[in-house]
């Protein structure tokens, strides 16, 4: 049946084709209409730039102590003031932010990569494989997280990378569960059946037909995972298990600040303020994404 009727097919030039608008494009258009989310995105971008580029522009070094200028309030020289060892707080907030944001992003990306592939595979294969893969997830869930991290630290020594691994190991679990249930639902859809009946390979079906369709909720969860991970890092640092002084993260700075909160309140206010604003922004972005990606609001 190579001769289809009406097959006087002239070449179709790329330019003449009507461009479609993908669901991603539609979602982006909806997100742009959400003022809170867009505002949060702007603020968040600004904070990221501030933390990444700031230290290059500042005359101070984050670890350079100046005991003569210890614990000074905000001034023209030191906009955020200095800490008890005379280190410029603004630079320390920037550098601390780098680490906090990096922990948040790297751990989330790790969690995302493992969770999506693991969950999609379990859901796609189904049956006994799915059951045993998910029991493994339950097992990891049941591990007490703090003890798990302490054990890791004791066994391998304190390291920031180890912390990434530890947090990533925990966060991918919920991601895997969400992806799996999404895939289980999609698997019954006729377009997946159609893909099977066209003889596509398993990896093609998973990568092209299943994963792009569960990505919506996954992205929402990911934006909400970043702040969760940052809180976790702050918590670990607070316990002395995370980033260690003189290195700074927002968690470390807040820990230092709360020790002197009654005498030198700015030591707490600035890092805590940045941390809080970042968390707010990420949560608002996550909410905005959820609304934008909600299939119910897609025009159908």
């Amino acid at each position: 049946m190579t001769d289809l009727p009406g097959s006087a097919a002239p070449g179709i030039a790329e330019e003449e084709l009507v461009e479609g608008s993908s669901l991603w494009k539609d979602a982006w258009a909806r997100l742009k209409k959400n003022k809170v989310a867009v505002g949060s995105l702007v603020v968040f971008t600004f904070i990221c730039l501030f933390c990444v580029l700031g230290p290059f522009l500042s005359p101070y070094d984050s670890n350079a102590q100046n005991l003569f200028a210890g614990a000074e309030g905000p001034s023209a020289d030191h906009w955020f003031g200095t800490d008890t060892l005379g280190r410029d707080l603004m630079v320390r907030v920037m550098v601390g932010g780098r680490i906090s944001l990096m922990v948040g992003l790297v751990a989330t990306v790790v969690a995302l990569a493992i969770g999506v592939i693991y969950g999609a595979t379990a859901g796609y294969i189904g049956g006994k494989v799915d059951a045993s893969m998910m029991r493994f997830v339950d097992l990891l869930y049941a591990l007490p997280f703090t003890i798990f991290v302490i054990l890791l630290m004791v066994a391998f020594g304190r390291s920031m990378w180890l912390m990434f691994v530890a947090i990533g190991c925990v966060e991918w679990l919920s991601m895997a569960r969400i992806v799996r249930s999404g895939v289980l639902g999609l698997k019954k859809q006729e377009f997946v059946e159609a893909a099977v009946s066209l003889g596509y390979s398993h990896s093609r079906i998973i990568l092209r037909h299943l994963i792009p369709n569960v990505l919506g909720p996954v992205i929402v969860i990911a934006t909400l995972t970043v702040p969760a991970v940052m809180l976790l890092e702050a918590f670990l640092s607070f316990l002395g298990l995370g980033v260690q002084p003189p290195n700074a993260s927002w968690g470390v700075l807040i820990n230092e600040g709360q020790a002197n909160m009654e005498i030198y309140p700015w030591l707490l206010l600035f890092p805590a303020g940045f941390f809080a604003v970042t968390l707010f922004c990420l949560n608002f972005i996550g909410d905005g994404l959820r609304d934008a990606l909600d299939p119910k609001s897609a025009k159908d």
Binding site: R30, K33, S297, K299
Partner: protein, 350 residues
């Protein structure tokens, strides 16, 4: 005074992507004991019309923009929530397309029937249960006195729809609204359900509004028909008028598309093009772009007006076309129907 008199009912949905004009100026009336069929394709506004009457439109985004719906002398569209609760389930009963989702899966049938009865009647539990069993017997559920204590999932689809009918009619409402009551059911069960609705209607003298896309179901059970398209009334009249003397090009076309009326071996007749997009304002006749009738001078009429051509038989006369001739002769004159009904514009996005 008719039991229900709807005038100029207009319901819009104000969505993010603009105003969806789901129902635009629909009017009809219904006497006690009568059956009105509302026919249309998906998006024609037939279901929204009924939901508007029951005030079950989600507000926002939906809004009843204007119109009146006088039911036993009171305007349904102006009622307070308190008054509405009295009418719903008591004056007007409703059954839905999907009997799987319209019963509460966690409650026994007995509980749900008794609740329906006790909400509107001052009746003790024992008497209510007795009445519930009676109601189930009347819709042909075998062993009703035992099965009344079952849960919804213990019934099959057809049996569940019977339970729904029993529940909607247990308070003996004056009006029953049935929204595609047989669409989710098998053909053999469909016939049973339609028979039961008809029989209960005769017993109780209930008026029925039957929403459906199936002209065959309408032919078998309705007295009057309202044909809707693009949210508007296209034609209305008695079932004989609509089936034997249709006037509107859409009614004529719709009748022509039914497979069982066509001779085998010929191409099926198709209405070219696509249903209108009600999220954009429609100027003039909604069916104009798909109308097979030759157009007269377009300057004659701008917006269609309802014209009564015989007592009780109205059609939306657009003034563009002369639809007094049967569709067959029009099509014969036009030569050939486009292949598969694909006009040049069929590839345009909806």
């Amino acid at each position: 005074m008719p039991l229900l008199e709807v005038n100029d009912l207009t319901t819009y949905f104000h969505t993010r992507d603009g105003v969806v004009r789901a129902v635009e100026g629909v009017s009809f009336s219904l006497e006690r004991g009568e059956t009105l069929g509302i026919v249309g394709e998906s998006g024609s506004g037939k279901s929204v019309t009924c939901y508007s009457l029951m005030r079950l439109i989600p507000e926002p985004p939906g809004r009843i923009e204007r119109g009146t719906a006088m039911f036993e002398g009171h305007d349904l569209l102006q009622m307070s929530q308190k008054e509405l609760r009295k009418v719903r389930g008591n004056g007007i009963g409703m059954i839905f397309q999907d009997p799987m989702t319209s019963l509460n899966p966690y409650l026994r049938i007995s509980t749900q029937l008794i609740e329906a009865l006790q909400t509107h009647r001052d009746i003790d539990k024992k008497a209510a249960l007795h009445k519930a069993i009676e109601a189930l017997e009347e819709v042909g559920i075998p062993g009703a006195s035992k099965r009344v204590f079952s849960y919804p999932h213990e019934f099959s689809g057809g049996m569940r729809q019977r339970v729904m009918i029993a529940m909607a009619l247990i308070t003996e409402p004056a009006l029953l609204i049935a929204d595609e009551p047989t669409t989710a059911l098998d053909v053999t069960v469909q016939a049973q359900i339609m028979d039961i609705i008809k029989q209960r209607q005769n017993d109780l003298g209930t008026a029925v509004i039957l929403v459906t896309h199936d002209l065959g179901v309408v032919a078998g059970s309705c007295d009057k028909v309202l044909v809707m398209y693009g949210g508007r009334e296209m034609e209305s009249g008695s079932v004989e008028q609509i089936f034997y003397r249709p006037r509107h090009p859409y009614t004529r076309s719709l009748q022509k598309t039914i497979p069982s009326l066509q001779t085998k071996g010929q191409e099926l007749y198709t209405i070219p093009g696509l249903p209108p997009d009600v999220s954009k304002p429609i100027h003039g006749c909604a069916f104009f772009p798909r109308c097979p009738y030759p157009k007269t001078d377009k300057a004659e009429g701008a917006s269609p007006e309802l014209e009564e051509i015989e007592p009780g038989h109205c059609w939306s006369a657009c003034g563009f076309c002369d639809s007094s001739t049967p569709i067959e002769s029009v099509l014969a004159k036009a030569g050939e129907v486009a292949e598969d009904g694909v006009p040049a514009s069929a590839g345009e996005p909806a």
